[in-house]
């Protein structure tokens, strides 16, 4: 049972790490695009 729980924990940690990596990557790209858009505007 403990081994089964370990497997679930590892699986969820892996999934969450992958999603966090994707979100952070997306955030970096978004900030880059926002910066380009803002510097090209006279706001």
């Amino acid at each position: 049972m403990v081994r089964h729980e370990d497997e679930i924990i590892r699986k969820r940690q892996r999934e969450r790490a992958r999603i966090m990596a994707l979100l952070l990557g997306g955030f970096v790209v978004l900030m880059f695009l926002i910066t380009i858009a803002k510097t090209g505007m006279n706001w």
Binding site: M1, H4, E5, I9, R12, Q13, E15, L30, K38, M41
Partner: protein, 298 residues
């Protein structure tokens, strides 16, 4: 036996905390406000504004579920949510909600303007503090006043695009504000026993079924007037005016059928269920017509 609460929560449970179905209507009304504005920001800034509105709505959902976890356990409709079902601990939901809300406001301010960010922050605080914590457990007027929180997105979308207020987005605010009570009370009529079991003073629980039906019809009248008003006021074209008139007529007919219904059993509340379903479609179609009018007719 594995204790689900002792495990790290699944990412799908974090997604469920954001109430994606509610979020879709919020995002759509925010998008409509942004697209109805006279000047559009660059695509990436418009996208970011809508993203921030979505994240802010997600934060509201998470904080609402964090605060109401014990109440949700008592209602059949909400008992399978991540917190009452024991799939997530409350602290994770709180951290997620606060983090998401703070992030959405800061990103909105950086990407568009700080007036839009202040409005987004106000809508999140209004939903969580004024509606969820203060009004909902105390008064049957919870939906009436709390409805203001859901009325912010079109205003935020407009302000994100233009940086200032105008008559049309204020009317959009009024439409959603007046639409919320008939929409929610139609639902609360056929899930009344759930609210009663949880001790939430929704109007059908406190004032009774017939009084709620009367209020649904009465609120539908100013809602309809607000929905049609942009056309005679010269803020939109005929396309929107005709669509708003037709859609509102349908809403009033269904609200009148609710008024005439005398059933007390949820399974006999067909008119209430039809009005609830129509009310969701109504707002989508109304705002869709607004955007179509702005882009096709002008």
């Amino acid at each position: 036996m594995t204790n689900p609460a002792a495990l790290p929560a699944d990412w799908r449970d974090f997604l469920a905390l954001t109430k994606p179905r509610v979020m879709s209507l919020v995002v759509f009304s925010g998008l409509a406000g942004l697209l109805a504005a006279p000047a559009l920001p660059p695509l990436v800034l418009g996208f970011t504004a809508i993203l921030c509105i979505a994240l802010g709505a997600g934060a509201c959902g998470a904080l609402n579920q964090w605060y109401e976890a014990d109440l949700d356990k008592k209602m059949r409709r909400t008992a399978k949510r991540p917190l009452p079902d024991g799939r997530m601990d409350r602290q994770s939901a709180l951290h997620f909600g606060v983090g998401l809300g703070t992030f959405s406001v800061l990103l909105m301010g950086l990407a568009t303007n700080w007036l839009a960010a202040v409005l987004l922050a106000a809508s999140i605080l209004f939903y969580v503090v004024v509606y969820t914590v203060w009004l909902k457990p105390r008064t049957p007027q919870n939906i009436v006043i709390g409805g203001a929180a859901g009325a912010f997105p079109p205003l935020i979308g407009w302000v994100a695009a233009t940086g200032h207020f105008a008559a049309l987005p204020l009317l959009l605010f009024a439409i959603v504000f007046l639409w919320t009570p008939p929409h929610f009370w139609a639902l609360s009529l056929f899930v009344r026993s759930d609210y009663a079991a949880a001790g939430i003073p929704m109007l059908p629980v406190v004032a009774g079924i017939q009084a709620t039906r009367r209020q649904i019809f009465l609120y539908s009248l100013p809602m309809g007037a607000a929905a049609v008003a942009p056309w005679p006021l010269g803020l939109t074209g005929a396309l929107y005016g005709i669509a708003a008139g037709g859609l509102t007529l349908g809403f009033l007919v269904l609200a009148a059928r609710v008024l005439m219904n005398r059933a007390t059993e949820p399974k006999l509340m067909g008119p209430e269920k039809r009005l609830f379903g129509y009310s969701v479609m109504y707002l989508f179609a109304l705002f869709g017509a607004l955007v179509a009018d702005r882009w096709l007719a002008w």
